[in-house]
């Protein structure tokens, strides 16, 4: 029941917010609603009653599809990340001005409903529905409120992901006809017996859809442009939450459905991911635009996660799933800083900034912590995930770990260089009038920093949540 509530709250509120013409009220209500979702999610986590975590209703009985939601450990982690991110996003972008704010906030909440639906759906067709529905509001958000080149860039993003999901739909329909009871339910799909040949090509129909969403090299070309052009609040949603859809779908659908396909192509996928890590890290070092820098750094991090999902050992899987959450938190922190800088100085060019540390000490301290987490320093949340993932990669094949490990060094290079140029050095005309940040912006960054440290020192709750999923996945291959 709670699972349904999680989707319904942002869905209904999202539609309602369209009718609140007043900017301040629209903002306040969106914040309140998203906090309410967070409260509901926390309640679902602490209550032990399993009845809360599933929901099933009749939807399309003739087609063997039902409205079934199920919150297992991994989906709980990602739902928590989603409902945690939204209030933070709203608070940190409080001062941003949008034309027709009611539409903006309404669409943001609808995106949240779609995302939660993807993480909770336990029915193939329902999953596909939410997968697409999360995309539609984002299309409008980016095209309407983005930068100068927004229309073309967003359209590229949309068509890319649309092609991917349509291929997945064909695969899904094919699978449906292989089920003994003609059903889209997750259990029936899991039980389908396929030959190795079938698994081979079905694997790619699904994987391309997920790879575009993540994005894995070479399907990533939409990503830097879209992140750059989208309004930062939407970029936060895209990079902290939406890319997790692809990673999550690999765990929930791809690996259980096509284990033989995974074993056939694990080297290809890991090879692409590792290549993408190095490639994106090198490109990140060249960037002058803060948004593009973080976009490329995000590709590198995603590459590591997607590689670790295919190594087929415990530490790799554990690490990746922990990192789903950590990466979401960290990248959110990075975007908040970008948002604050851009709003104050009207530029995101690293070369035009400098000397912020003297003017905005709090911002600097908070940013440095977030940035160190991005480099995966010990004591921060990302360290645990990355350590486990490299460990898993090492067990799979030493060379992948060795080459992939370079990206850690490179990430330190571009992150520290960015801090150095933006926050230290001499101030210039642009940054001379800098002021420190407002309390709610500070609060949202502090929340992020607390999350970074808590997870870095005491990751056990998240481990406990994802352990079921890890066991299930490993069980498939035995």
């Amino acid at each position: 029941m709670i699972a349904l509530l999680l989707i319904l709250i942002p869905l209904i509120a999202g539609i309602a917010v369209f009718f609140i013409k007043d900017e301040k009220q629209a903002k306040t209500w969106s914040f309140v609603i998203s906090s309410a979702s967070l409260a509901v999610m926390v309640f679902a986590l602490v209550s032990a009653d399993p009845a809360y975590k599933t929901f099933s209703a009749e939807w399309l009985p003739q087609m063997g599809s039902s409205f079934t939601l199920q919150m297992d450990g991994l989906s709980a982690v990602l739902c928590l990340l989603t409902v945690f991110a939204y209030p933070v996003i709203f608070a940190s972008t409080w001062k941003s001005k949008y034309i027709s704010p009611n539409t903006f906030y309404g669409l943001m909440l609808l995106t949240q409903a779609g995302l939660l639906g993807v993480f909770l759906a336990a029915d193939g067709l329902l999953f596909y529905f939410f997968w697409e529905l999360a995309l539609i509001p984002v299309y409008f958000l980016c095209s309407k409120w983005g930068g100068d080149k927004r229309i073309a860039v967003t359209f590229k993003f949309f068509v890319y992901t649309f092609i991917g999901s349509l291929l997945m739909l064909v695969g899904l329909i094919y699978l449906y006809y292989q089920t003994p009871d003609a059903s889209f339910s997750m259990q029936s799909l899991y039980e389908v017996k396929l030959t190795n040949g079938q698994q081979g090509w079905l694997f790619w129909l699904f994987f391309i859809a997920f790879a575009i969403k993540m994005p894995v090299f070479p399907f990533h070309t939409w990503q830097p442009d879209t992140y750059e052009q989208a309004p930062t609040a939407v970029t936060m949603v895209l990079s902290a939450l939406m890319v997790k859809m692809g990673l999550f779908a690999v765990v929930r659908w791809l690996i259980p459905l096509f284990p033989a396909g995974v074993l056939m192509f694990d080297n290809v996928v890991i090879g692409l991911s590792v290549a993408g890590m190095i490639y994106a890290s090198i490109l990140a070092m060249q960037q002058d635009d803060l948004k593009r820098l973080i976009a490329y750094s995000s590709i590198a991090h995603i590459g590591l996660m997607s590689a670790a999902l295919f190594v087929n050992n415990e530490s790799g899987l554990q690490g990746a799933m922990i990192q789903f959450f950590s990466h979401g938190v960290n990248v959110l922190g990075m975007w908040i800083v970008v948002e604050l800088i851009e709003r104050q100085f009207g530029t995101r060019k690293i070369s035009e900034l400098g000397g912020l540390a003297q003017k905005a000490p709090t911002l600097t301290i908070l940013l440095v912590i977030v940035a160190l987490a991005n480099v995966a320093l010990p004591l921060t949340n990302a360290f645990i995930g990355e350590f486990l993932m490299f460990n898993g990669l090492f067990k799979f094949n030493v060379w992948y770990a060795a080459v992939g490990g370079l990206s850690i060094i490179l990430s330190a290079v571009y992150t520290l260089k960015m801090i150095q140029k933006v926050f230290y050095g001499n101030e210039n005309g642009v940054t001379a009038k800098a002021v420190d940040i407002a309390w709610f912006e500070k609060a949202s960054l502090v929340v992020i920093v607390i999350a970074i440290f808590v997870m870095g020192v005491y990751p056990k709750p998240v481990f406990a949540l994802v352990q079921d999923t890890v066991t299930v996945i490993l069980g498939i291959f035995k």
Binding site: F155, F162, I173
Partner: protein, 460 residues
């Protein structure tokens, strides 16, 4: 049977009321009355209560699929009249005659949906085609309209000839016009004539539904015809011919499926490719919709290709989704002066409600989930996957569906994200807006619960 009778009679009523009623605006009222009676009649058909319950020695067959399809079509006609009634009157000097011709076409539609005999099919197709030639040329002073009518007439007559020839071959081979008697045992001496007949009819039907490579008339005719009639041709007529196509091939030629399946697959692939790729390059929304109707025909071809229970459900849903969305878009287009994509710039600012409905219609055509168009595509593609062969065709189709997003979204982009310096005025009465909203609601309802329509196939 009710539908065939009432539409023929009301066509005559319309013609004579043109003589006796001087007021031109009354034409719409008389036509609407007719459409409502037609809808009631077709509902009675569906319930099995007919004025003349006779199948004319097996020449007609009252199966539930055909009858339900006719209800959907008549419902679409009613919405079409409600939205476009005013505009039809403005096309020329003979509003009563235009409505009368549309009613005659509905009589042909009834025959095409319920035929069980090749002659009835031929009659139905002709009764549909001849009034269409006239409607295309209805704008007498417009050269493009005249050209389109002549072109349509010449090419249409030619395809009719091919169809008749095909029927003759089939009769020669099987010795009957009844479509359930058209099967020959494997290795029969006359098999070759049967196949020639099937191919000829396939060509003629492909011409009528504007499937490639027999689609060349479509863009010119759709572009040249008065826009209100383009809307009618591209939706109601096209969907109706498809049910004839499907019935003929599933009931009549089901036994010889391996002989023609590849040809249908090639026609489908070509139609999808040409329709979608050419639509990308159009500058006028009206022409884009003409090519989009070719592309959509490609998807409907899947139902003919698959021939199973899913394909019937799919075609039914497709007809409903496609007719609703296209009629909605054309109804707005008719009221605009500038048919280019730029003409839509900034429409969302001036007419937010109209823009929202148009967006839902376009999403439905593109097959985005939550709209009827998604399930329409889902069912026809699913029917094809179910056959277990030609999976490449399905994958090709979804890639083409992604291409279609390009030109449908251009309109959305123009409406929402571009500023118009001279946004056109659209006079949208509250009644017109209410109808558009009804269309949008229906599209979304069918997009969440397609069973609302499909249940009627089985429930009595």
């Amino acid at each position: 049977m009710n539908l065939i009778l009432i539409s023929a009679l009301w066509g005559i009523v319309m013609m004579f009321s043109g003589l006796f009623i001087k007021s031109r605006s009354a034409a719409k009222t008389v036509a609407l009355t007719g459409a409502v009676i037609l809808l009631i009649g077709s509902l009675f058909d569906l319930a099995g209560k007919m004025i003349i319950d006779n199948n004319f020695k097996g020449m007609l067959v009252y199966d539930r699929f055909g009858l339900l399809f006719l209800v959907v079509i008549v419902f679409a006609l009613l919405i079409y009249f409600l939205l476009n009634g005013e505009e039809i009157g403005k096309v020329g000097n003979h509003p009563y005659e235009y409505f009368a011709l549309i009613f005659f076409i509905m009589c042909g539609v009834g025959l095409v949906a319920l035929f069980n005999n090749l002659l009835i099919l031929f009659l139905g197709i002709e009764i549909i085609s001849i009034p269409l030639y006239i409607l295309t040329g209805a704008d007498k002073r417009n050269l493009k309209s005249n050209e389109a009518a002549l072109k349509y007439f010449l090419m249409g007559s030619f395809s009719t000839g091919i169809m008749l020839m095909g029927i003759a071959f089939l009769y020669g081979a099987a010795g009957s016009f009844q479509i359930d008697k058209l099967n020959l045992p494997e290795g029969d001496n006359f098999m070759i004539f049967l196949v020639i007949g099937i191919v000829m009819i396939m060509i003629a039907m492909a011409f009528k539904v504007s499937a490639a490579p027999f689609h060349f008339w479509t863009p010119d005719v759709y572009d040249g015809a008065p826009t209100v009639f383009t809307s009618f041709m591209a939706t109601i007529v096209k969907a109706s011919v498809f049910i004839g196509f499907l019935n003929l091939f599933s009931n009549g030629f089901g036994g010889t499926i391996d002989k023609w399946k590849l040809s249908i697959a090639v026609i489908t692939a070509l139609t999808l490719f040409i329709g979608n790729i050419t639509a990308v390059y159009q500058q006028s929304v009206k022409r884009m919709l003409a090519y989009s109707s070719i592309a959509q025909a490609g998807f409907m071809m899947f139902s003919v290709f698959a021939i199973n229970d899913m394909s019937k459900q799919g075609l039914l849903l497709y007809a409903a989704a496609y007719c609703l969305a296209t009629i909605g878009i054309f109804a707005v287009l008719v009221k605009m002066k500038d048919y280019t994509f730029d003409g839509f710039n900034g429409l969302a600012g001036k007419q937010p409600l109209v823009a929202l409905v148009l967006t839902i219609c376009l999403f439905s055509l593109a097959g985005i989930p939550l709209t009827a168009g998604f399930f329409a595509k889902y069912f026809v593609l699913s029917a094809a996957v179910k056959t277990g062969t030609y999976l490449w065709l399905v994958i090709f189709a979804v890639i083409m569906a992604a291409v279609s997003v390009y030109y449908y979204f251009r309109v959305v982009q123009a409406m929402y994200f571009k500023e118009g310096d001279n946004t056109q005025e659209i006079e949208a009465t509250p009644f017109f807006k209410g109808l558009l909203v009804t269309i949008a609601v229906l599209i979304i309802l069918l997009g969440v619960f397609p069973s609302l329509l499909l249940n009627w196939l089985t429930v009595y």
